[in-house]
Symmetry: C2
Subunit: 323 residues, 2 copies
C-alpha cells in the first residue's frame, strides 16, 4: 500500500494517450505516416548519480537523457514510461523527484503513460517513445565521406562541473553555476534534432564524450573522423597548473553534455548557420568525415592541428557518469 | 568494454523492426489501423526473484511477465526492450539468461529491439510493445453488471510451488514438477487474449492473486465481484493438517500464475467453452459482476457458498513474488 502511494506521485494527465496509467498496459495511437523511435535507459545510484543527488534535478535528468536520444534520432518526443526501484517510501523525496520529472515532461509535451514501482536498490528506468516521419530518422550509419562534422552548444562543461564537484579541480567562480547546471539540468536538443531532418546525414547525442560518440557515427558509417583543433569553440581558460589540458580533455572526452554531434554535406553550411541563429543555439563545424585508409581505419577519430598534423588525443575510456 | 561484451549477448536478428539495437533508439513501424499497447515491469533480485535463481528460467520469466500484460490487453506482442543492471560481468550466467529470454521471444515472435546494460545491483527492466486493432483492446474498466467472471488454466499452483520451495509446506511429490514449472516458466496467454477481443468486456492477468486482480476489474468498472465457491476448478488435495485451506488460499490470493481473469456477457458462454477446446486451455466460469450496494461497494470481491452465503476470504495483501 505504501508503494501504491508512491505510484500516485507519477499519475498526471496524459492528453496525448488513449489510455494512460492504471491498466495492464497503456494504449497509444501513432500519427499517420510516422515511424516510432524507442529508447530505454537505466540510471543506477552510485553508477550514474550520487545517492544523495538533489531529487528534483535527478527527476529532470532521468527523463532528459532519454529525450536526448530521441532528439539524436530527429524524433518528436511523445510518451515516456518510468520504472522505479526504491529501498523505502520517502514521500518528500519522491514528490521532489516527480516535480523535476514532470517539469521536463511538460517542457517537451511528453505524457508519462505508464510505469512500475517496486522495492529494491535505487534504480530508474525510462523508456521514451517519439515519432518521426517515415524515412526521416537521423541514424548513426548515414554519414558520407566529405561530410562536415558539427556539434551543438558547449560541450565539456558538464564534465568540468563533475570534476569540480568531486574536488579534482577548482573551477573559476564564474564558471561554476554554468557547469553545475549542465550537469544537473541537461537540455535535450529536441528542436535541433527535428530541424536536422533532411539536413544531417547522421547524428548522435554526446553522452559519453565527443571522441567516443563521434566514433560511433564513424564506425557505423564505415568512415574515419578528423577533428580540426583550430575550429573548436573557445574553451574556458582554466588556470590549473596540474591539469593544463583539463578544458580540452573535457571537450573531447567529457560526457553528460547531451549536445548533438552530427554530419552534414558542405552544401548545408549556410542553412546550418541560419538554423543556429533561429534556434539561438551555437553550431560548430569542427571536422570532416573521410574514407578510411591505413592510418585512419573505419571508426577512427583523429585530432589534427592547423597544418593537418596529428595531435595526441586524451584517453577516452575513463568517463564516469556521476551527478 | 566488459559491459559491451555483455550487451552482445542481447543482439539477435530483429526481422520485424526497421532499425534494431546499435543506434540512439530503435525504429518501429506500427501496423495500419493498430493501436500500440506498452507495458513496463522491473524485476529486482531479492524482491521478485531469489538472487540464485536459475538464469535461464529468469530470462524466460523476465520477458514472459510483460507478454502476459500484453495478453491481458488482447494485444499481439511485437517488440521488447531490456535494460539490465548487473554487479559484474558473468559471461556464463548472462549467456544462460539470454538463452531463456530469447526462447520466450522466439516462442511469441517478439523482436528484442533495444536496451541498456549498466553496472549496479541486479535489476531487469523490460518494456514490451504489442498491437491491437483500433478499439479492440481489453481494458479493466469495461465490465458490465451481469457479466460472468472467467479464469483460464490453473491458478494457485505457482504460489504452492513457492511455499514448497520456501519449506513452508510439503507438496505431494506428484505436484512438485507442475507447480515448479508454473513458477519458473509462466506461459503468457497471448492466444487467449487475442481470441477474447470482442468477447471479453474486461481482462487482467493474475499476477498478484485472483482476489486482488479481480478487484482491479471491479473497481475500474464500478462494480462488485461475486465468486461462487462451488464453481471453482477442483483444487489439489493437500493433506496438510497445519494448513487445511492452503490450496484454496493459493487459488484466491496466490500470485505469479499469469493466467487471465476476464468478464464476458452470459451470451458468450457457449463461444467460450468452444474456445477452451480450440486452445486446449480450460476456462472456468467462477462468478458474476454485480452493481454495487451497501454490502458490496465498488471494487469489493465476495466469496459465496452454494446457497449464496458469504464465506470468509483469505488475507490477500501478503503475497510476495519470489522465484
Amino acid at each position: 500500500m505504501e508503494f501504491d502511494l508512491i505510484a500516485r506521485h507519477f499519475v498526471r494527465a496524459t492528453p496525448h494517450t488513449r489510455l494512460g496509467p492504471g491498466d495492464d498496459g497503456a494504449l497509444l495511437v501513432a500519427s499517420r505516416g510516422a515511424e516510432l523511435v524507442v529508447t530505454t535507459d537505466m540510471l543506477v545510484a552510485g553508477t550514474h548519480f550520487f545517492p544523495d543527488a538533489n531529487p528534483e534535478d535527478l527527476g529532470w535528468k532521468t527523463l532528459a537523457v532519454n529525450l536526448s536520444d530521441l532528439a539524436a534520432m530527429g524524433a518528436m518526443p511523445r510518451w515516456a514510461f518510468l520504472a522505479v526501484s526504491l529501498p523505502r517510501a520517502d514521500d518528500a523525496w519522491l514528490a521532489a523527484f516527480a516535480e523535476g520529472f514532470f517539469a521536463c515532461a511538460q517542457t517537451f509535451a511528453v505524457d508519462l503513460a505508464g510505469g512500475d514501482v517496486t522495492r529494491g536498490p535505487m534504480n530508474f528506468c525510462v523508456t521514451a517513445i517519439g515519432e518521426v516521419p517515415s524515412g526521416c530518422a537521423l541514424r548513426r550509419d548515414g554519414a558520407r565521406a566529405g561530410n562536415d562534422i558539427w556539434i551543438s552548444g558547449r560541450i565539456g562543461l558538464a564534465a568540468l562541473g563533475l570534476e569540480h564537484r568531486k574536488g579534482k579541480l577548482a573551477l573559476p567562480e564564474s564558471l561554476v553555476p554554468l557547469c553545475e547546471k549542465r550537469l544537473t539540468r541537461p537540455q535535450p536538443r529536441v528542436q535541433l534534432g527535428i530541424a536536422l531532418r533532411g539536413v544531417a546525414t547522421a547524428a548522435i547525442d554526446v553522452s559519453d564524450g565527443l571522441i567516443a560518440d563521434l566514433g560511433h557515427i564513424a564506425r557505423r558509417s564505415g568512415l574515419a573522423a578528423v577533428l580540426f583543433r583550430d575550429r573548436f569553440p573557445c574553451l574556458p581558460v582554466l588556470d590549473l597548473p596540474d591539469a593544463p589540458d583539463a578544458a580540452l580533455t573535457a571537450f573531447l572526452s567529457g560526457g553528460d553534455d547531451y549536445e548533438l554531434c552530427f554530419s552534414a554535406p558542405p552544401a548545408c553550411r549556410a542553412a546550418l548557420i541560419a538554423l543556429a541563429t533561429r534556434l539561438d543555439l551555437p553550431l560548430w563545424r569542427v571536422g570532416t568525415l573521410a574514407s578510411p585508409d591505413i592510418s585512419t581505419p573505419p571508426g577512427a577519430v583523429r585530432l589534427t592541428g592547423p597544418d593537418g598534423e596529428i595531435l595526441p588525443c586524451p584517453e577516452t575510456s575513463g568517463y564516469e557518469h556521476f551527478t
